[in-house]
């Protein structure tokens, strides 16, 4: 029974197993003759059953549906749904119950509004809120696709004197004259201003001092102080540890106060010239670094040097020169390679500003560009040859003596031409604060080309002074010759 053709063996799975296991040798016959088949080694292979990996999830909190079968799970779902609904009903009921206590009675509200902790909270948060409201930074602004507008600040980049901002308060500074200004040494953005009494409102306090903040765009003062007496002028001298508050009044009395005890002065000094004439002091200044010697200007137009302690306590010398009461006096303060602390400037009702040296009892130079009472003058704290003065018709003038001694280097008129009572340089020397007779404080930015002092300004000023002195001596010689003739 041998087939003549080849054939295919097709066995089902079961038979194949048997076939391999039994080492059966098959003879396959085909045309070519019987193929020789031999024994071959059989390897037994075992396939392990495929593992089914399954995951189960369990919740840690015991739930009622935990160990239930499928059938029972359905029942539970039905159960939990009504339970949830029930809970929701409970919640809404609770809210309804809470609604009545939500409303506070008017009395309770008023009580809260008057309580101290509320006032503290409100003072603090309203201050922050006002600052945040005033800052108008628009972070969403889209520059592309819009016309680039020239900003106002840029056009004034090269300007010598430009108005930065104005400080005035409807309630506290209106109808009052700015009597004094002072920049804080610790926080350069804070400016203190004192005001005279408000004649239109006799019930308001007589003396007001406001602290203004340059840093934020907020238009209201940071702090308001008031007292019953008008504040004129104060000055703190000395170092951080040993300092005194010096005050001078028009009755010729100079008092030195300790800041811990402001009820009575530490000591007082009657300023009298040659033991007979009491000096009516209008302004006072201490030279840089000096706490003993000082200079005062008086109502009679004379300048006096004085000292606080020592055998010659009191007035030492008298300098004559002005023809009217002295309104402002300032000693040179810009520290640099050359010491000019013997120099001081004075302003007066006689329409002039004069430059003096403590070594000379006649003025070194007289600046006569103004056409009204000059109310105040101050040296720049950073530039040795620069000073500012203000007059009664709204002019703010900056004089740079290294440039020009005949006319101011920069000048600006305050809108409305109010009488400007006070001028104060900021400690940086880049800004000037001007106080007027209507209670407004104007802050001006001074251009870099004027305010920033180069290294050679001090030596240049020495030359300027020499020139000034030479001119003065020539003038005096001429005058003496004329008298002789």
């Amino acid at each position: 029974m041998f087939p003549s053709d080849s054939f295919c063996l097709s066995l089902n799975r079961e038979s194949r197993k048997i076939f391999f296991g039994l080492n059966i040798c098959i003879c396959v016959f085909c045309r070519r003759g019987p193929l020789k088949l031999g024994m071959s080694k059989v390897t037994q292979v075992d396939f392990p059953p495929r593992e089914l990996v399954s995951y189960t999830k369990e919740t840690q909190t015991p739930t009622q549906t935990h160990h239930k079968d499928d059938e029972e799970e359905e029942e539970d779902l039905a159960l939990t749904q009504p339970a949830l609904e029930h809970q929701e009903e409970k919640d809404s009921q609770k809210e309804e119950e809470e609604a009545p206590p939500h409303e506070l009675t008017e009395e309770e509200k008023q009580q809260i509004l008057h309580s101290e902790e509320f006032v503290t909270f409100f003072d603090h948060s309203s201050r922050i809120m006002e600052r945040a409201l005033s800052e108008q930074v628009d972070v969403f602004f889209d520059y592309s696709g819009r016309d680039l507008q020239d900003k106002e600040g840029e056009s004034q980049a090269g300007a010598k004197l430009s108005l930065n901002r104005q400080f005035a308060d409807e309630r506290w500074s209106k109808h009052r004259v700015v009597t004094c200004l002072d920049w804080s040494p610790q926080y350069p953005e804070l400016l203190a201003a004192s005001y005279s009494s408000n004649e239109d409102a006799p019930h308001e306090p007589d003396g007001v001092a406001l602290v203004w903040n340059m840093k934020y765009k907020k238009t209201t003062p940071e702090y308001v102080f008031h007292c019953q007496h008008p504040v004129y002028c104060v000055n703190v001298v000395g170092t951080q540890n040993a300092h005194n508050l010096i005050s001078i009044s028009t009755d010729g009395k100079m008092c030195s106060w300790s800041l811990d005890m402001l009820t009575t002065p530490q000591d007082s000094l009657e300023l009298m010239f040659k033991q007979s004439k009491s000096v009516a002091v209008t302004s006072m200044s201490f030279p840089l670094g000096d706490v003993n010697n000082f200079v005062v200007g008086s109502e009679d137009g004379s300048v006096y040097t004085a000292c606080r302690h020592g055998s010659k306590a009191g007035i030492s010398e008298m300098f004559e020169g002005h023809h009217g009461p002295i309104t402002g006096l300032d000693c040179h303060t810009a520290a640099g390679p050359v010491d000019f602390s013997h120099l001081f400037v004075t302003s007066s009702f006689d329409w002039t500003v004069k430059l003096w040296s403590t070594k000379n009892n006649k003025p070194l130079y007289s600046f006569e560009d103004n056409s009204d009472y000059v109310y105040d003058v101050m040296w720049s704290p950073t530039h040795p040859a620069l000073f500012a003065c203000v007059d009664g018709v709204g002019h703010l003038d900056l004089w740079n003596l290294n440039n020009e001694t005949e006319v101011p280097t920069a000048s600006v008129t305050v809108e409305g031409n109010p009488a400007l009572n006070r001028v104060r340089w900021a400690h940086s020397g880049r800004e000037v604060a001007v106080g007027d007779s209507e209670g407004r404080v104007h802050i001006y930015d001074v251009g870099e080309q004027i305010s920033v002092a180069r290294q050679d300004e001090w030596t240049r000023f020495v030359l300027t002074l020499t020139e000034i002195n030479e001119n003065r001596e020539d003038v005096e010689e001429l005058a003496a010759q004329r008298l002789a003739a």
Binding site: E103, A132, L133
Partner: protein, 96 residues
Amino acid sequence: MAEVEETIKRIQSQKGVQGIIIVNAEGIPIKSTLDNSSTVQYAGNVHQLLLKARGMVRDIDPQNDLTFLRVRSKKNEIMIAPDKDYFLIVIQNPTE
């Protein structure tokens, strides 16, 4: 008390300010320049947001605390100054 009124008036008169609400720690309004329904709506929502914001800040760093919250939207900006017992809400339209 007059100072509080004055300050509120002053803030109200600033450019773009639409309303001022003072709320206590439970979210109950004490003083407001808006009508009652808006006040209640703002107070409730801000209270929720404040709790979440404060919780978030404290969660990230337990020693930290929320000091100010500003929510800027298309139409306006809501500024919230929170405190232990009260908070001040100001709604402003800055582009006005």
